[in-house]
């Protein structure tokens, strides 16, 4: 396993695109978060609403780049045929798959941490001085939101890896993942029945998972923060299981 990990890490660092996608994740996340916080109206009493969630809003965009990176890790090998070289070097397919997942988790954890810390810092700088209500990691719910957002990005990466391993084609995989993330919220907007709307938000990977970012008015959420992240983890686990089983069963 450690040799397979070393190989996957070498693959990752010997082409430029993963680094650019990770830097892009950080830049997009921080930029969108900063943009969102800069348009909010603040008074002396505070900014109204959830400033933590607002400053972390950039993950709506950043997650797409994480998803693309995760898809390319495996589908890039299928499109070139390099997957056969990989499986010749490491014939145990579960090991190859685990090595890819661990490498992805590592790089997304680093980029995701940079992205959320950058977003919080940008939020602190942009929002007016709120004294003891300022964004701070010493605040329990904020820390949970920040840490949880990094986990959320990792789970989106793993979900994408699983989907791409099952689907194999880059474009189709990216379509499936982005559809899963963004189309469900759009559909839920068009549904008038509030019960159905809440159900969709409870089970969709993005809306459920991003409950982890909410720090105010928790009672109005369709699903609690950690349970929501658990739903996203369930999606990721299902995708990894499907991808892993297909990788083991299919001819390469």
């Amino acid at each position: 396993m450690s040799l397979a990990l070393h190989a996957e890490w070498t693959k990752m660092r010997t082409v430029a695109s993963p680094l650019w996608l990770l830097l892009g994740t950080v830049a997009a996340t921080v930029a969108l978060g900063a943009g969102a916080t800069s348009v909010v109206n603040c008074t002396a009493n505070g900014c109204g609403g959830d400033t933590t969630k607002l400053s972390l809003m950039g993950v709506y965009l950043g997650q797409a780049l994480v998803a693309i990176l995760a898809v390319l890790i495996i589908s890039g090998e299928y499109s070139s045929g390099m997957i056969r070289t990989t499986l010749t070097a490491v014939p145990r397919r579960a090991t190859v798959f685990a090595a890819k997942a661990v490498t992805l988790t590592g790089v997304v954890a680093v980029a995701g941490t940079a992205a959320v810390l950058g977003s919080v810092l940008a939020g602190r700088l942009i929002l007016p001085d709120l004294g003891d209500r300022a964004l701070s990691l010493s605040d329990g719910p904020t820390l949970r939101a920040v840490f949880g957002t990094v986990l959320y990005l990792i789970l989106i990466g793993l979900l994408s890896l699983g989907v791409a391993t099952a689907v194999r084609d880059s474009a189709t995989s990216i379509g499936v993942v982005l559809g899963l993330l963004y189309i469900v919220p759009i559909i839920s907007q068009t549904i008038s029945d509030p019960d159905w709307q809440r159900l969709l938000e409870k089970i969709a990977p993005m809306s459920a998972g991003l409950a982890i970012q909410v720090t105010t008015d928790l009672d109005s959420l369709p699903i609690s923060p950690w349970a929501g992240l658990g739903v996203t983890a369930g999606w990721a686990a299902a995708a990894l299981l499907a991808g892993g089983l297909l990788l083991r069963r299919r001819d390469a």
Partner: protein, 322 residues
């Protein structure tokens, strides 16, 4: 020419591929239909047959990439997935284009080396060996097909394996590259390695292969040493070079020989001894420049070999079209 290997340790190893009764279907298409043969150390074994005969599928099954429906493929007595550090047992090249186009040749070999616990030093050795050192840091996407074949061969040799398996390595090579690969394959076998090379063109394996496994429609049609094949195909025929082929054929046929034109100025003769041929030609005042024992080319030997193989003829597109 080969840098690192020590021949003595290789000679003691059992460097054999053993394929036994492989069957494999893709949907309704039968790709392998009881494929059975083995590859021995110290020899270049040519794996030949028309496109679609099952050569690549067999190699993929050997490498554990495709699962066979029946039968076994063993390397040194073990299935591929049971090999520890597989690249130091079998080096293979299936598809030279299977690269990430923006990764450098060195980067490609580096991840392969790391997957086997090998260092960057070995990477530089094999790059030197195939003559890619100066291009090592360029993106592989910019390589010509010939350079990619060299890179693929470097990858196959990375683990200094006792068995080397190459699928159509001559494809896309320029004449210089073809000569280079031939010499290279010879030197690998001379070091005691088992070498399996597939090709759909017999002429590529001329003077390279020691042994031939000819396949058609997913099974072996002939499995024989090249020397025996060529000997059998040559028979006791005599080649006559002449500027007057029509006259030559006429006088020799009258004298009772069986004649056939095999080139613009060359005729093969059977049924007459060489000294008798010379006499007949002199008596007929027919000019000739050479009378020698005929040595069949590998291509002729192969055609001879497959002439009676129904499976093979049925697999030939021209036969199917009739």
């Amino acid at each position: 020419m080969f840098a690192a290997p020590d021949v003595h340790s290789l000679a003691g190893m059992e460097a054999t591929i053993e394929v036994s009764g492989l069957r494999k279907s893709f949907g309704r298409t039968v790709a392998l239909d009881g494929m059975t043969f083995s590859v021995r150390p110290g020899l270049v074994t040519g794996f030949v047959g028309p496109n679609g005969a099952g050569k690549s599928t067999t190699m993929r099954v050997i490498l554990g990439l495709n699962a066979a429906n029946e039968g076994t493929a063993l390397i040194s007595g073990k299935p591929y997935h049971r090999l520890r550090h597989p690249l130091s047992h079998v080096g293979s090249l299936l598809d030279a284009a299977a690269l990430h186009s923006s990764r450098s040749a060195r980067g490609h070999l580096l991840w392969l080396a790391h997957s086997q616990g090998m260092s960057a030093r070995r990477v530089d050795e094999v790059l030197e060996l195939v003559g890619l050192t100066s291009a090592a840091r360029r993106k592989a996407g910019g390589y010509s097909l010939g350079m990619r074949q060299r890179l693929g061969i470097a990858a196959a040799l990375l683990g200094d394996p006792a068995t080397v398996m190459l699928d159509e390595p001559f494809n896309g090579m320029d004449p210089e590259g073809i000569v280079w690969i031939r010499g290279f394959l010879r030197s690998l076998a001379a070091q005691g390695r088992a070498v399996l090379v597939s090709s759909h063109l017999m002429s590529e394996l001329e003077d390279t292969a020691d042994h031939l496994v000819a396949v058609g429609r997913g099974k072996v049609i002939a499995d024989s040493s090249v020397a025996d094949l060529i000997g059998a195909a040559s028979g006791s025929r005599v080649a006559v070079r002449t500027t007057a082929p029509q006259d030559t054929m006429r006088v020799l046929a009258v004298a009772g020989a069986t004649v056939a034109a095999i080139g613009r100025d060359t005729i093969t003769v059977s049924g007459l001894a060489p000294d008798r041929i010379v006499t007949v030609l002199n008596e007929g005042a027919v000019p000739f420049s050479e009378v020698s024992a005929h040595r069949a080319t590998l291509e002729e030997a192969y055609m001879e070999l497959t002439r009676n193989a129904v499976e093979f003829r049925a697999a030939m597109p021209t036969e199917v079209a009739r």
